[in-house]
Symmetry: C2
Subunit: 327 residues, 2 copies
DNA sequence: GAAGTGACCGCAAACGTTTGCGACAACATT
DNA sequence: AATGTTGTCGCAAACGTTTGCGGTCACTTC
């Protein structure tokens, strides 16, 4: 049997309330009694039942987190940061995966609701259209912070990496190196993130003073990126821009295969979380969109919500250019 | 206000117990009443309070998981698998990170205990000596499944990747290719996993019929692996064996730098979860130690525990050689 | 010597469920 | 007409906490 307050009370001959107060160092209880109870609790390995506490106090110090998959080198760092911050603030984290499936996602939302989470971090599945399930949480005062993959409507808290800024930074880095023929590879065209990066990148290039040739293409997987790279290489680009890690890995396989010298024969720049670019020699120059930063931002956003913040927040992390040797 | 059974009872004019039973399709309740209650519950967005349910039923359908960090390309796939299986079986997963710190780890164990988890998955921090905190869970009938980084004592449930088998497979693959000069790089010498792989690999090589030169070294980071590779390359190995992804990434940076042709000038083989080896051209031949498989094994082990399994389980996943073009 | 003052502690309600048991109809059986 | 039977439903206890309020005792105070 697990030890409960009742058992501690029976053994000590005190009442349940006294035991409870003693363990919480309540001033009403004498030092002698406190010492006795604390000692007893430790001997009997007493641990308060979180369910009972939360039922009573209506605050279970638990956050929910829903994400397509934790097995992803961007999300995992993000999640890691959120968990870390949560624990620092005495919150636990319940992590659910949607498997990129809106139905499972909705079920997960209900689970969070049933658990009366104090708040929810959510990264939408790519095919989620209807976010009513999330919106209902508002009615019961559960704040929702969307991160990375966020809904388009404006009445939601969102934190994102700086898509526009990061693509612009990358474009400017290319321009300043006086590159003339760019192959720019983007991800799935449906995604908001792709649209934003595409727009920012192409506009920046086009508005530059230089005469720059720009070839663009979209790939929705690393294999596709590989094929597209091969196909477009006969146009002799001097630079390849990769919108994401997925694209980058596809591109790099081709460059390795053809044994092209980076950056002498061809330059490479990417937008990335930061891990993949370090795997190559020379290390790839990239604009960092840090998962850790995003997680921390999401968490602080959550905290301002919980402490009564009233505005709907729409935040972005700052991006910075990390110089490798590939540009 | 959140909707509760009480509110449903008030609005419908029924008693709380009737409402409760109606929602669970209890035979005592008439179809008419059931329909009425279900309808009302949906209108008022009723969701049962998990805390109250669990307090009452003593079964909260929740697993705990403690791991040094979720941000790791082996653990994340493992965790992903465990979460997936859990949700399939109507369990939730509370994920805690120890940050590779035994103190935080212990705190996390207590948290799981307080939450009365149905079971705990644990991957120890590298410096954990004392596992009393975990053992105490047994006394309150909470099964603990250690995975990957497990304690040495025998009275615990453990699931691991097949260290000995995978290193043996790699060694045999090398032997069958008639390689003669092997540079074998291992991880942190303190770790059990390193010891096992080292022993299996070297013994297999030495017991072969062939005359094989074996150079071994230990690196506890990818940077160190990089340095060691450079240093040992003047001994002209024809093959490099990498014990882990971390080692592999260090090695590959050197090979890319020196523009050595794989496998013509030098062959490479690794033990890996499977992601990193696919990033290179040619893809690296590796012995797969799948995180997903490990997670699934851990989960099924948990289930047999919960259904009354009495033996202490000590399981390993099967390893298989995945041919790339690097050997 | 009655009243006031602290220090210390217990009673009981409440949080939202689940569930054994009993209540009360209506109706069929002797 | 007394007894069973069946179909519906409500009472109340229990799960393990927290906490407002009131109680008891010893001790001071005028």
């Amino acid at each position: 049997m697990t030890t409960t307050l009742k058992k501690l009370a029976e053994v000590s001959g005190l009442s349940i309330s006294t035991v409870s107060r003693a363990l919480k160092n309540h001033p009403d209880i004498s030092e002698k009694t406190k010492a006795l109870v604390v000692e007893l609790a430790s001997v009997l390995d007493y641990e308060p039942d979180a369910n009972a506490v939360h039922l009573r106090t209506k605050d279970n110090h638990l956050f929910g987190l829903i994400v397509p998959s934790v097995s992803n080198f961007f999300y995992d760092s993000c999640i890691s940061a959120i968990e870390k911050e949560s624990r620092k603030n005495n919150y636990s984290l319940m992590i659910l995966q949607s498997g990129d499936n809106p139905d499972i996602e909705l079920n997960n939302v209900r689970l969070c609701r049933q658990n009366r989470v104090s708040g929810l971090f959510a990264c939408l599945s790519s095919s989620t259209e209807n976010i009513d399930g999330f919106l209902k949480l508002k009615e019961v005062d559960i704040p929702v912070i969307f991160f990375d993959k966020v809904p388009e409507r404006t009445d939601c808290h969102k934190v994102c990496v700086a898509d526009t800024a990061s693509a612009t930074i990358a474009a400017n880095a290319i321009i300043s190196k006086r590159k003339k023929r760019i192959l720019a590879l983007f991800g799935n065209e449906q995604l908001l993130i792709t649209k934003k990066r595409y727009k920012a990148f192409t506009e920046t290039i086009q508005h530059s003073q230089e005469q720059i040739q720009l070839i663009t293409a979209s790939a929705s997987s690393d294999v596709e990126a590989e094929l597209l790279t091969k196909k477009n290489l006969d146009q002799h680009p001097d630079t390849i821009f990769c919108m994401s890690d997925e694209i980058l890995t596809g591109v790099m396989k081709v460059l390795q295969h053809l044994r092209l010298k980076v950056p002498e024969e061809i330059a490479v720049i990417a937008i990335s979380n930061g891990f993949i670019p370090t795997l190559y020699y020379p290390q790839i120059t990239y604009v960092e969109t840090s998962g850790v930063k995003l997680g921390q931002l999401a968490f602080s956003s959550m905290m301002t919500c919980l402490s009564g913040g009233t505005f709907t927040q729409d935040l972005t992390t700052e991006s910075v250019l990390i110089e490798g040797g590939s540009l």
